[in-house]
């Protein structure tokens, strides 16, 4: 396979097959797996099924139950909390197809959500079924699968509202042909939206009411987060074919600690309160800081990850607003980092960065 990044249902086809084989619980209509098996797929079973999401079990349970009750699911969270990741894997596990995807942008037209026309045919044949270009959501309705809509809040409000009929009546009228597409059982929608961008295009309350909201939090403790970062860094390093760099768990732990402390506004020992910078300092950013540092170390350094390799990356991640974040970072360096004897190298590197 030469794809830079295979789809979830391809990459984890073995696990899905295993779960389906062993799954004897009732499956909702149109589902490939039972809800319990979907939860297991997402969270892992500690043996053959690898965890895709590390976090509170109840969140995944609420998400899966929501899909099973035919309510649409809205995943909220700051950037980098695995919203898209979870939605892709949910779609892969429930309908075996995570590709029915609409990327929401400020320029998303209504055609992307409903249907468009093949204009050459429309001119040649007039409005016919063959001239109709279905959107991914329309195709999901026809096949009874899960459709995904990324960054829902970036979509203009009038376009968002095209979803209301689809979600409440489960039908998509096509007045030009005087027909409609009724959703097959198993159809549902997972939308993701970003907490911090609220207000960009706030959902109308009519639409909001059609969604159950699940907020994906930042990892609850440092060990979880280190595990997530280490695993993803290893996967990314392998798929990008970066030269092998010894697993620098210590640096990963340090980056995770710094991110967690600044994000939470409290040192891990719980003794010092800190100001939080404006950026979200997500786990995804920690992953990219480390990956970046490994690339630096491999190509330009001596092959081991040193504090200097990550310091600049951290600075870039923390200081998003040049004025207020710089104060936050300086205060953090002077009051926290400096006091930790074994962080001296990092302190120096960060001062120079």
């Amino acid at each position: 396979m030469t794809a830079l990044r295979p789809h979830a249902e391809d990459e984890y086809a073995d696990e899905l097959a295993q779960l389906a084989a062993a799954d004897d619980r009732p499956r909702p209509p149109g589902w490939r797996l039972s809800p319990q098996a979907v939860v297991t797929y997402l969270l892992g079973d500690g043996a053959k099924i690898t965890p895709k999401y590390v976090g509170p079990r109840r969140l995944i349970e609420v998400a899966v139950s929501t899909l099973a009750t035919d309510r649409a699911l809205l995943l909220l969270g700051v950037p980098g909390t695995a919203k898209t990741w979870v939605s892709e894997h949910l779609a892969a596990a429930v309908s075996g197809d995570s590709t029915l995807l609409v990327q929401g942008t400020a320029g998303t037209p209504e055609e992307a959500i409903r249907y468009g026309w093949n204009y050459a045919r429309l001119l040649a044949e007039g409005p016919t079924d063959a001239a109709l270009v279905p959107s991914p959501i329309m195709r999901a309705m026809r096949t009874g699968s899960i459709a995904r809509l990324e960054e829902l809040t970036r979509v203009p409000s009038d376009v968002q509202d095209a979803l209301i009929t689809i979600l409440s009546e489960k039908t998509l009228p096509v007045p030009e042909l005087n027909t409609e597409v009724q959703a097959e059982r198993g159809f549902n929608l997972i939308a993701t939206a970003n907490d911090r961008d609220r207000g960009v295009n706030e959902l109308s309350s009519a639409l909001r009411r059609r969604f159950n909201t699940v907020v994906l939090p930042m990892p609850a403790n440092a060990d979880d987060e280190v595990e997530i970062v280490a695993r993803r860094v290893a996967q990314l390093g392998a798929s990008l074919e970066l030269p092998e760099v010894p697993a620098a768990l210590e640096e990963i732990r340090r980056v995770v600690t710094i991110f967690r402390e600044l994000r939470g506004g409290l040192t891990e020992d719980g003794r010092t309160k800190l100001k939080s910078p404006t950026g979200s300092l997500s786990t995804a950013e920690a992953i990219s800081v480390i990956t970046n540092g490994m690339a630096l170390a491999a190509h330009f350094g001596d092959g081991t990850l040193h504090p200097g390799d990550v310091a600049a990356g951290i600075l870039g991640a923390v200081v998003k607003d040049p004025v207020s974040d710089a104060v936050v970072w300086r205060e953090y360096l002077e009051t926290v980092v400096r006091e930790r004897p074994d962080w001296l190298d990092f302190y120096r590197a960060a001062r120079d960065a």
């Binding site: 939860v39 139950s65 009750t69 009411r209 159950n212 205060e331």
Partner: protein, 835 residues
Amino acid sequence: MPERFYGIRHHGPGSARAVVRELAAQQPEILLVEGPPEADDLVRWVAGGGLEPPVALLGYAADDPGRAAFWPFAVFSPEWQAIRWAVANEVPVRFFDLPYGYRVGEAAAPRTRPAAGKPGAPGTPEDAPETGEPGTAGAPEDRPVADEPGAAGAPEDRPVADEPGAAGAPEDGAGDGGSGVPAKGVADGGPGADGVPEEIVETDEAGGGGIPGEAPGPAEPARPADPIGELAAAAGYDDPERWWEDVVEHRGVPVFEAIAEAMTAIREGAAEDPEDLVREAYMRTVLREVRRRHENIAVVCGAWHVPALTRKVAVKDDAALLKGRRKGKVTFTWVPWTYGRLASWSGYGAGVSSPGWYHHLFTSTDAVVPRWLVAAAGVLRAEGVPTSSAHVIEATRLAEALATLRGRPLAGLAEVTEAAEAVMCDGEPLRTELIARRLVVGERLGAVPEEMPAVPLARDLTAQQRTLRLKPEAAERGLDLDLRKDIDLRRSRLLHRLRTLGLPWGEPAAGRRGTGTFREEWVLRWQPEFAVRLVEGSMWGTTVLAAATARAIRRARAARTLAEVTGLLETCLLADLGEAYPAVLAALDTRAALDADVHHLMAALPALARTLRYGDVRHTDVAGLATVTASLLKRICAGLPSAAGSLSDDAAKQLRDGMDGVHQAVSLLADNDLRELWLATVESLARRPDLHGLPAGRITRLLSDAGRLDPAEVRRRLRLPLTVGTPPAHAAAWVEGFLAGGGLLLVHDDALLGLVDEWLADVPADAFDDVLPLLRRTFGSFDPGERRAIGERVAGPRAVVATADAASIDEERAVMVLPALGALLGREIRIREDL
């Protein structure tokens, strides 16, 4: 059936319902309830209408109200329902637990309990108690009870273990309720912490600490393992609480026999807690006595105790266990309680985390989930969040789907909460929290009849009023206190403490100010509603000191602004609330870290520095204060540069005043590192070209006074603002900043005067006209007397020689002054040998 044992789960609504049903079927002649026998007389209050749950039995040592314990009852407590039933049916009720007087007695004389007295008791009780202070030691664990002033009042959430009074007890006692489960949580010694009557279960609280209160020390070895946890684990539940809900509460048919059997099995394998053995020995003794007169007996107690009560034990063994115990004199009364206190999160020892939910389970008979979600929608609507019936419908469906996914028979609290969160709250944590606070915990406040005997807090106040010779009078009168006198100092503290409790008996009078810090003026006026406040305040603690401490800590936690906390810090000093100090300091640190406005930080620093330098802060963690002050200064230094850009005139003045305050504070701190840090910050600030004139001039002056700039550099900087490139307004501000407030200083500081004088003389003749208005503006603000004195100094001879003379000091004579000087300053003055 002659007698029946109802092994209940404390505060379990399912148990409560079942107990009432079974009692009605059994129609016993007498009811025995696990609880302090001294409170038997108080049962009659249940009959009257005045007592509305949640209420608590409050027991305290008659001679020392600081040692006290609470036994809370909610409407869904099985004990409460059993008592209600008995009172309504005119069945006599007896509490038959170990008398609280024993604990008080033991605490007073911890060693009186001979170990030999109880043969057979595994793990003698002795080792257990005693870990703490005598005061706490004796107390059996699960009876929380913080009996010690310290603990009772203990600031909440202080994990007691480190608190002297409270020997952090792991409170395993909890084990005994059927519910058992060591109440792990809630370490807080909050006022409330003291009281669980008994182990009430609730495992979900993290905490781990001890309950204040007595209890065998943390090292207590013989603790029964969490019996419910074992049962639940055997049934495949990770959370014992849910197991109870599913197996007992939700079925509504607790099979008391089955529970007793299960408990028997568990107790056979578990280590016995010595305190349990003593309590059960007492219970059996009472039971035997009751059996002599009654046939048909009902016993309501924690499920854990049932096997012990039904077991055959020889009378003499029980007598031996109970022998040699001293009984202290205790007094009991009912006090109002709240669901908030009942919930573990407000510091209740082993509370239930969701009293509101239990209340709902107990009071609603059908459609439990929809009713709950309708109530949740009501809470949200009351806050202006549009929540439609459609939301409720969808939330109900989701809750049911979740229950199915998890294989539970009915949606429980976890499911309805998650459903409400996903459907109604749009994932907003604030709304979820709102539901948790209003509904899951609830805000129900209990009530007691007015004629109820006084609470210990009121007694403590009366006692203090007597010793301090302050009579509560409805008429207003003034009070002048001289804090150098001991009695006046104590009066002042009492008044300050009462104010902390929301009981403004005395208001500080505005009166004469500046007559010295040892003088305080008050206006006293006693208002009748203070009696009510005392009852309310009694939930914070049983003495004025303890209650005020707990209250101050609570307020420090809830504080939103830095100024609030600084105010509290001052209150702590005035009211001498040493115990609250660390928590207030911690809050100060927190607020300081979160406060982005460097002006607030600067405003807070001087008071801290003064306290550190002059405050005779008894029992105060000065080291903690020093750390906080130092970190505050570091934050100021980090934030100051960015706060100094583009200032308006008003903001510049604020900054100048703030910097003056900090500068003085830094010199009070007498810490060279901090001083260095501050001066370095100021120096770097001084180099900024865009700085407003007022702070710029001030900084130059500060640095010059601190000897960081040599006179030539100062002169250079003085000259700069007066040159062509500087706008006049900036120049005026600069000169004002440099000289302001220094009229008197110019008279006495020859170096400064010389500097200014030389600089003036240096101004070129043609520029002088331009400079003159600026100077006039600054010098015009000085007193006429000061201006004349400056003029005289400039005109007259300079005392240049004097400095040379001052160098020759007669050291021996100088040394003689030192002891007196030391006495004045209140610190020892040592002479460095190297000079």
